[in-house]
Amino acid sequence: MARRRKRSPLLDGSGKRWTLAAAGACLLPLLLQLPGHVALGVGGLGLMGAVVSLRVDLPAWPRPLLALALFGLVLANYGFHFGRDTGCALLAAMLAIKPMELRDLRDARSLLGFALFAPFATFLLDQGPLSLVLGLAGVVLALMAMLRVSELESMDRGPAPPDRPEAEARGAWRRLRIAGRLVAVGLPLALAAFWFFPRMASPMWGVPDRAVARPGLSDTMSPGEWIDLMSDDSPAARVKFDGPVPGPHQMYWRGPVMLDFDGRTWKRSEWLAGLPPAQVVPGGQSFSYEIEIEPTDRRHVVALDLPLAAPADVRMSRDFSMTAPRPLSQLRRFNLRSAPPQAFEPELPDMLRRLALRLPEGFNPRTRELGLQWRAEAGIGPAADEAIVRRALQWVTDEFAYTMATPLPGRHAVDEFLFDQKAGFCEHYSSAFAVLLRATGIPARVVTGYAGGYRNRFGDYWIIRQMDAHAWVEAWLDGRGWVRVDPTAAVAPERIFDTLEDLPQAGFDVFGNMAAARDLGDWLRRGWNTAFLGFDAARQRQLLAPLGVRDLGVAQLVILFSALGGLALAWMLWLVARGERERDPVLRAWRRVGRRYARLGLGPEPHEPATAWAGRVVAADPAAAKDLATLSARFTDWRYAGRKADPDAALALARDLDAHRPGRRTALEDPT
């Protein structure tokens, strides 16, 4: 160990700069995925270590202590939960400490090796365009730094003095070109493996979840918690309809359905999720579409209200919300059909009815009182239920307002909302409405998901953004089953159905152009998603579907991969052969002649001039080498007499050389 350390040459300034720049570039996209303060701490420490190690060699002893302290801090930040993000943060911390030990080539190489893990870790957390571009830049820089380190190892001082800035810049360009060429040469093999190497249909081990979840739909909902989610304009899903498109008021994307209410939080009922889907009488109109769900940490699959059937290996529960067996940590695509129901669970079992009416004791007394009062006024029966629902909707339409600025709820959150504030957003409305309906004796539940969508004009598909997250109420009415009631839409329809698409019509021309650019950007991203991010075992099996081969098996994939990988490798070998080949056709032909004679034991010696060799061959075997003397004279003429001989003569010479065989007279030279 000591011996190797002594042997490994020291880094010079430029080598250190390259290595540190590459490590920094690799680390950057990872830092962007970490929580702000962790990223700042780790990044700041890394930067400090890098700057210091450029100037002085640090002693070794503080490093393990520093590493332990930093790891401890990072773990504490994640509350000692070990998740995917914790692992990535630890990797970032390690990368930040590593530059402090940057002395010789070995240090540089191990730093570069670990740095290449950073883009990998980034892609596990996020696959957006920014991460991809930054990751790619980091990888290219790392390759260039590896080139620089290798140049150092070879102790080549280079053609120009290396300390001049323009020489450095030229070196950078050269290295970029070399790195680009290496990547280009390796790319066919990489792509063959990417498309054809058999993918795993299900993972060997689970993807560790994040320790800190990103905002998104979940199994619970308590009013006021979606503030972050509703200002997030990143896409949640993209939908392409095949055939008719639902109108804007039908675009409700069903997610988790909440039945249990504890006074503050709505919760998805676990045991209900295990029951088979309820009975539904579908309406006449149906929509078929393909929905592409962006990666999340959750298992919820959203679908247009109301999906007819769940896709393969996705479970649909009694309330028609769907869950995948694993978190959708990758882009997933589902083909679905939905139809607005005519009757949704027209027979409600007693057990479920009781659950859908249950209100916790000791919460929201004013609302319950109002409910009882309304029920007393309306009477009993299906018509009365509908009247109550209409009355409630009328009430919110007349007296309530939409706002995102809501105070923190107290104990009787629904009371406060209905009687004091009279303003809020979808979470408040749906929660209060469901409680109010339950208080009047109408079974009600809260449905979360997305509402609306924005049509992309380039790709003719619809984007659902995180900010379209929505919560509404389903009330059970006799004969119709569960009926969607959306109090928020009654109050502020523009907040629900109107989207960015309407803004250009408001007269902002500049905004219109920006929207077009946005459309184009998202369209490109969707194309990328389709071709690349969404590729999985299922898509792989259909890879040759356009050629009429459906459902490729693993064996066929292996064969295809071997064939294409072999082709790519053959291409590399061809590059080698081409690199080795003599470029001049005349010289090439001359060497072939030499090899033919070598088979007879009369090959030319490396140092032997052409005419001397021909003389020797003719002396040894006059019959075998009738024309060799002439040919060698012509060859010598071509080679030495005039470099600027006309190319036709050279070609003719090459042809004659190729035609020449020992012991056989060429037709050209022999008229008989």
């Binding site: 990998f120 596990l124 696959q127 990888v139 390759l143 590896m146 993807v207 940590s329 490396p606």
Partner: protein, 325 residues
Amino acid sequence: MRSRWTEPGGRGPAARLQLLARPRQPEPLPVEFDRRRIYVLPTWFGLFFLLLLLTMGVGALNYNNNPALLLALVLAGTALASLVSAHLQLSGLVVHAVNAEPVAAGRPLMLRVHVRADPRRPRRGLRVESGDSAAVLSLDRGAGDATVEVPTTVRGWRHPGRLRISTTRPLGLARAWSWVWPEKPQLVYPAPEAHGPPLPLGAGDNVQARLHPAGDDVHHLRPWRRGDSRRAIAWKPSARRDSLLVREYEEPQGADVVLDWDELSALPREARIQRLARWVDEAERDQRRYRLVLPGQAPIGPGAGPAHRHACLRALALLPGAVEA
């Protein structure tokens, strides 16, 4: 010092593997490297990189994470391409001469390796190794040379053994190398005796003894050249010739020195050779004419100058019976 790769006679698996490497016997130069004699194997860093890629690949396949998978695959492809590139750094390289100035035994032989190649492909930072000595070889406009040290112990012909030309460029993931085993040996002079008696001068009955004219005699005149001392100018002849002439004096020279093998019969054989070698050097240093008489050969000289010295030392070096001390 023996080295594990330049001496093919060693034992152990490494040495046995060496026997399989091309070339398997000494060969005449020039030698062109082609794919049959270029070897490529990963370095330690390359193995580390491989491990890294495997981890990435398995992780990415497991999570079906396409960007991560493509990253691993592109890096793998790049690594493979770097093997191709390393191979091409060597292939087509022609080692057309390996030579060295003769040195006395015990001093390292400075072996110059001359190489040329097609100038269109840049080849820089190749490493030439012989035993523990290494040098950097960079081709400039298609030609280059490097000097490695080869230790010597005995006089006579020294076979430089196998030379290794290698490179870890471009990425340091793999080392490509090729052997060249020049057939032509290099001459090693005998080591001169460290301390010995002075040149055998006053032997008055030497056959070739001849006195030179006294040193103060003017030998001839020649035209003035830059740097000549002003005192040496012969003013009178210069005036006659209308150009400056300079007097040249002849140095006083002693008698020819005869270095006779048979005179040293008291010494053992190698010691005799060493003393004669020392005397040759001393005579050369004192600018004497000298003659070397060896048994069974025609006497060499009398003469002086580098060519004569080389002839004498060569004859001494090639006397039979050289063994490793």
